[in-house]
Symmetry: C2
Amino acid sequence: MNKKGKIPNATITRLSIYYRQLELLEFDGYRMVSSDKLAWLCQVNSAQVRKDLGYFGEFGIRGVGYDVIELQAEIKKILAINREWNLGVVGIGKLGSALLEHENLSVRGFKCVAAFDNAPGKIGKVLSSGLTVRPIANLDRSIRDLDIEIGVITTPASAAQSVANLLLDAHVNAILNFSPTRITVPDCCLVENMDFTVTLDILTYKLHQSS
Amino acid sequence: MNKKGKIPNATITRLSIYYRQLELLEFDGYRMVSSDKLAWLCQVNSAQVRKDLGYFGEFGIRGVGYDVIELQAEIKKILAINREWNLGVVGIGKLGSALLEHENLSVRGFKCVAAFDNAPGKIGKVLSSGLTVRPIANLDRSIRDLDIEIGVITTPASAAQSVANLLLDAHVNAILNFSPTRITVPDCCLVENMDFTVTLDILTYKLHQSS
């Protein structure tokens, strides 16, 4: 575990992607995989795979490759996904509801344990995920009671900052922000933004360049 | 417009974020903004702002800053978001439905003009967005008729690659992939992945590091 302070987000993102491909390789019956093959599957080059993994130790056998099951376990440990994480989703519109039931979250160990909204018509409603919508006013207590470590913001842009402030007050120090705005938080808090229109802008930029 | 070939995704992402903050500044009545202030609002440093914009020309006035309205227009031109783009969404589950109605898409000039699925129970259904679910079997013709340039995949992982292949056959060369898997496409096709569990892995990694 060396050079940890210098590891870029892009490396962490790729580790997460390597992990998903290793799962598929295991499913397909592979025991070993070369860095070339893993790289090809993940659409990067093999030097990148070796460099990314090299931040965290020596995992492969030169000339043979990586043990598919062992490398999964190592990456799970690095990413801290060898345990479950409790999520609270704030803003139960269509997107919030879709996330609460998204198969991929539970499969990956992310448990949505609470749904929050402040619309009187939504509070108390039982969702098809089985959760009952809780009032945002009780955020602090629910977060403590349910041991929520990651907050997911799916409110409109106008509500995002105040929700972030409430999450911070409740000592939630990691936020996945789906609202179409940036939120301001102190350094102790981690935010990752998922504004998909920003990603669409990357596509339009490149489409325009290639046309 | 120099050095275009070398511009990293991260710069394009930041331009998109600068643009959103410039909109807010205009809304708040600002005519000019310094690179320091714009940087602070976007949570980057001001050298980064100047470097990102510097790829595309000379926009600011030294010691004064950027014209809030002019810089918006320039970034819109750079990102090719000074026009509308037609999107087709494939996979009308909860997430697909949520995206079709997401306020943020239409506000940003991304028009969802078609919804596709292959479930007999869904085909022909009129969605609350007003669109009627079309059969994936007709993807090619619909894409041509509706001038769809960007495909959005919101299917389960198992269907993503075959949908991507159909989009490619229909000459859609830009894909926003929400399915929790990587898809393989030829170089002529652009793919951006939106697997939010990958982003959650970044949060868990950092939470673990800071604990």
